[in-house]
Symmetry: C2
């Protein structure tokens, strides 16, 4: 049965953190899920933890490090250099982790079923489509269809409210919602300070610039 | 690009073991994947290991025990008694692990992408539909659609050749293929010898009986 409870996939970056705040502002009962799959940028999980603590949201962190040897060829899980360049540049394809988003959505749906939540919320946005096949609207529609059939009684529904907006628009919403962006982490390198050169750093800076705002995190 | 390489989800039970032998008999290049998700009947993973060793098939076992606390309410992952009765009895619903099959299919697809295989093979059969939502043909069709979109170049295709046949028919094929059923394990209790009373034990015995064959595993 549909209810107003959702498991939010939370990386600790800008998009999913804004999604968490956005759903809370609409009075959804939310619970966050973060996944370690061997990512180079696992520092994001500390951000996710601190964000949930500050917001007072229940948070599961699931350590699936055993996935790492199965996720080959990506700069984020394998011995491949992190590319520099714009987020939408084809060079970013090497950052794609094989079927990562389906794995995380599937675990989020299991968590939703276990906790009586009818929805999973996912922060893929319009800027992701250029490079990430598992952020495209057609993939998300197909996943919603599969999730609705994965369990009894209508299964789980997939919410993706940022599907058609850009990261700059996400940041605009987030600034209004007073999202603590100083706690978020985006850099693909996983270093303590954001590198400012990888795809996500460039996209992040651009999103703040387009809002005439200052990105509160430190850059190298 | 489609090729004749598949990752077979192998539990170590009758259905998936027969599927592995079946695909090999059709000259598919196969690789097996087994997943530990905290199941009570983890003894099946030893069976999967021995089956692959005997057949000379590459085998990944992925330890996702961190999933266990997220998979609530099931007799197979939570502190809930294993029911006795026929496999298709509604009492078996308590053995359903929330969204387990989507998680395993998603990991299998990641493994396929990482290894250049275009297919994932899955042994859900007609007898599973009564109780297991994530074995129903409509779920499998939806998953196939999502998997085809999860990555570049047509993603991954889902093969489910046993969708419309019974376990007895699977065993009939398997006996012709000389599947080493003495190595397989099916019991939901996870005990050393098969209990003979849980749903999978009853279904297993019935499948051999209907073929006028002797089940080679030991029962309590």
């Amino acid at each position: 049965m549909p209810n107003k409870k959702a498991v939010v996939l939370l990386s600790g970056g800008i998009d999913s953190t804004t999604l968490l705040y956005y759903l809370r502002s609409l009075n959804w009962e939310v619970r966050a899920l973060s996944v370690f799959y061997g990512q180079r940028h696992s520092r994001e999980l500390d951000s996710a933890f601190r964000i949930c603590r500050q917001l007072g949201v229940e948070h599961d962190t699931c350590n699936l490090d055993a996935l790492k040897p199965l996720l080959k060829g990506s700069s984020q899980t394998d011995n491949v250099a992190v590319p520099e360049g714009h987020y939408a540049d084809p060079v970013m394809r090497v950052t794609v982790v094989p079927n990562r988003n389906m794995i995380m959505l599937a675990v989020a749906a299991a968590t939703a079923i276990s906790n009586g939540a009818s929805h999973v919320a996912y922060a893929a946005h319009a800027g992701d489509h250029a490079v990430y096949p598992d952020c495209r609207p057609e993939f998300i529609r197909a996943m919603d269809g599969a999730l609705k059939l994965c369990h009894y009684d209508g299964g789980v529904s997939l919410m993706n409210p940022f599907a058609t907006i850009t990261k700059a628009e996400i940041v605009r919403h987030g600034l209004q919602l007073k999202v603590p962006y100083e706690l978020t982490y985006s850099c693909y390198t996983g270093k303590e300070k954001h590198c400012g050169r990888c795809g996500t750093c460039q996209e992040r800076r651009e999103a703040f610039d387009l809002n005439g705002a200052i990105d509160p995190v430190e850059y190298e």
